[in-house]
């Protein structure tokens, strides 16, 4: 059975997920992930319990890079996640893989280095090396995604919905610019001086994340679901859980032929007209891809 994971920000919304195809709920605490929402360990413990009570897998995002001074605490956090019965983590730092291996953790690790998994040969190396799963980069054309899934069956996860991360830094960009050290979590945007589009930016104590438009895959979801992909992910950063749950309902409706993809896109855009979307079919080939053809 394929996984469909959705990201929720608040524990109290977990029981409200009614879509049968959702097999897991992704949660994240503030300190160890890109999340800009203030969950702490107690919240995570409670969320995992509630997710399990709902018959779903509990997946925790630990999708940050960690400096040397944070490693002892990170180790402690991973132990905590295992103790509370977390089913899987989504991580981006290879240091986590090493900890999982060295300490014989049984928690599953899904490696998601965002920009770095763009070909099937690399993913085969990971698979053969004992990585439990990985998330394909969203920076490649859809044709490449299908090739990767085909070459690595029942192994890859794909983020089908959510903001497209385009830069991650240890620097605190907004604090530096405004000369005021703070966290800047919601509704901050960069706009390149000659363009109209605004790029959401989040700054926390540990760095900054810059996003492009929100990816959506409504027109492709049925085809993707028929492939040998291991799982699909509906992610979120700055929208509330109501948006995420309504979005999951839309995907489910398309998969059950209750609504056409075109209708679903119209409905999606009606949720919040300020969100800019990129259709997964429009993920552009770069200049180099074109030259290589």
């Amino acid at each position: 059975m394929k996984d469909l994971f959705i990201y929720l920000r608040n524990t109290e919304n977990i029981p409200a997920v009614t879509v049968d195809s959702v097999t897991g709920i992704i949660i994240a605490d503030y300190e160890h992930s890109s999340s800009n929402h203030d969950l702490n360990r107690d919240d995570i413990r409670k969320a995992v319990s509630v997710i399990h009570a709902c018959g779903r897998k509990a997946v925790v995002k630990t999708d940050r890079l960690f400096s040397e001074g944070e490693m002892a605490e990170l180790h402690d956090y991973l132990e905590f996640l295992q103790q509370i019965g977390t089913d899987a983590i989504i991580y981006t730092d290879l240091g986590i893989k090493m900890i999982l291996d060295e300490e014989f953790f049984t928690i599953k690790g899904i490696y998601a280095p965002e920009t770095l998994l763009t070909d099937y040969r690399d993913i085969k190396v990971l698979r053969d090396d004992g990585f439990d799963g990985c998330v394909i980069s969203k920076d490649i054309p859809l044709t490449d995604v299908y090739d990767i899934i085909s070459e690595c069956p029942d192994y890859c996860y794909l983020r089908v919905h959510g903001p497209i991360l385009i830069a991650y830094s240890r620097r605190r960009y907004i604090s530096s610019y405004l000369k005021k050290k703070n966290t800047y979590l919601d509704s901050y945007y960069l706009q390149e001086e000659s363009r109209q589009e605004r790029l959401p930016i989040v700054e926390k104590e540990c760095g900054s994340w810059l996003y492009d438009a929100c990816l959506q895959s409504l027109s492709e979801i049925n085809r993707l679901f028929e492939t040998s992909v291991r799982g699909l992910i509906i992610d979120n950063i700055y929208m509330d859980d109501e948006y995420t749950m309504k979005t999951a309902d839309l995907y489910d409706a398309v998969m059950n032929d209750e609504i056409t993809p075109e209708e679903a896109v119209v409905t999606l855009k009606s949720f919040d007209s300020s969100i800019r979307y990129t259709d997964i079919n429009d993920l552009r080939e770069t200049q180099l891809d074109k030259e290589n053809q």
């Binding site: 960690f66 920009t115 763009t118 070909d119 490449d144 830069a167 620097r171 405004l178």
Partner: protein
């Protein structure tokens, strides 16, 4: 074991300059599989010549194979790696696990160095790479000096660190702003440095722009002469200069500055303030951006950012030496910037002290006297007080 000074080379000329000015190792990219697509880069014939030249001077050669590959990028890779091994290249620098694994299989004599594109910033990640057969790790530039010391206490894999040059604003390899804004693939050699552009900052509908400058993500360049002694004491295996796109003159001055510091440390057991002053002089000769110590003192705030960036071209580079006549004591030079008879110039001696001299007479290739050198690339002969070799630079 002495710490190596590792210098970049965008083409054969710059490689030779780096070697002559004292690099212990050089790195460059081939025509394929490498970032910095806009650097001139090396053909296979160039690589063969580069290895021959570098090894003859006791300098190691590393080839960057550091793209984050797509499915179609592997064509010809195995043959390429086999050729690199055949030519005697010492190592590849790669960011792809698959490329590293293929290299270990088809060209086992090549060392595999893990690129900074992988952003390895903690000891567990270093140990991961060691357990997968890597021969060296290039730490992410986001590691502070104290963190680097802690990492080095816990790992046995040789550690390479950056000491100078341009810095990615974001974690290297984790940035695709260029892809999104220009359709140029940052992780496959096409980075347009969109991080350096100007941006408005908004909070909801409120514009937060400062009056004096727009926001930019761009970073100041790294310059770490103040940290060299500490890095040497820490036992890093290699100190790397960034800049495969930089000019030969830049390579010469930066390599000379760091070479002098490293030699002082090994000769005298320490780097003196006088050494640092001299090195600072070389750092400023060809630089065109403000610098800072990178992340070594700590995660930078505003002092590491570059706002209102304007490139300034240095005019201090006057000419480079193309030949020398032992009998007449004249150097054949290629003019790069304006100078005149009676001007005082400096020979940037690849090894040893620089030599200051006054231009007494210049002639062109036909023996005609020239008063003013103002034609770039013109070949002139001038009398110099010491023997000079090809690739030596002369500046004001």
């Amino acid at each position: 074991m002495r710490t190596e000074l590792l210098a970049p080379a965008g083409d054969l000329e710059r490689l030779k300059v780096a070697v002559i000015y004292g690099a212990d190792a050089v790195y460059f990219g081939g025509k394929q599989f490498s970032l910095r697509a806009r650097a001139s880069n090396f053909t296979l014939d160039d690589i063969k010549e580069a290895v021959s030249f570098a090894h003859a001077h006791g300098t190691k050669v590393y080839v960057t194979v550091n793209i984050i590959p797509h499915n179609s990028d592997f064509t010809g890779l195995e043959d390429y790696l086999v050729k690199l091994q055949e030519y005697g290249v010492d190592a590849i620098i790669c960011a792809s696990q698959a490329i590293g694994a293929i290299c270990k299989k088809v060209a086992p004599d090549l060392e595999v160095h893990i690129s900074t594109q992988q952003t390895t910033i903690n000891s567990s990640a270093v140990n991961y790479w060691q357990s997968r057969g890597a021969d060296r790790i290039v730490l992410g530039r986001e590691v502070t000096y104290d963190e680097m010391l802690e990492i080095m206490k816990k790992v046995t894999l040789p550690v390479e660190v950056f000491i100078h040059g341009g810095m990615c604003a974001n974690y290297s390899g984790r940035c695709t702003i260029s892809n999104v804004l220009t359709n140029r693939d940052a992780n496959r050699g096409g980075c347009a440095q969109s991080c350096r552009w100007n941006y408005h900052l908004w909070h909801d509908e409120q514009l937060l722009d400062n009056e004096d400058c727009m926001m930019s993500l761009g970073s100041k360049d790294m310059c770490t002469i103040d940290y060299i002694q500490r890095l040497l004491e820490a036992g890093v295996c290699s100190m790397k200069i960034e800049g495969r796109m930089k000019t030969a003159y830049y390579i010469a001055s930066i390599v000379k500055g760091y070479r002098m510091l490293i030699d002082s440390y090994y000769d005298d057991g320490k780097i003196s303030n006088e050494d640092l002053e001299k090195a600072e002089y070389y750092m400023t000769l060809a630089s065109n951006r403000d610098t800072f110590n990178g992340f070594y003192p700590g995660v930078p705030d505003r002092e590491g950012q570059l706002y209102n960036f304007i490139t300034t071209a240095s005019q201090s580079f006057i000419a480079n030496v193309k030949g020398y006549d032992e009998e007449t004591g004249e150097a054949l030079i290629e003019v790069r910037n304006h100078f005149e008879v009676n001007d005082e110039l400096v020979i940037m001696n690849p090894r040893g002290d620089d030599v200051r001299f006054k231009v007494e007479r210049m002639t062109d290739e036909n023996g005609n006297e020239v008063e003013v050198a103002n034609k770039p690339m013109q070949l002139l002969k001038i009398k110099v007080p010491v023997r000079v070799d090809e690739y030596t630079f002369i500046h004001k």
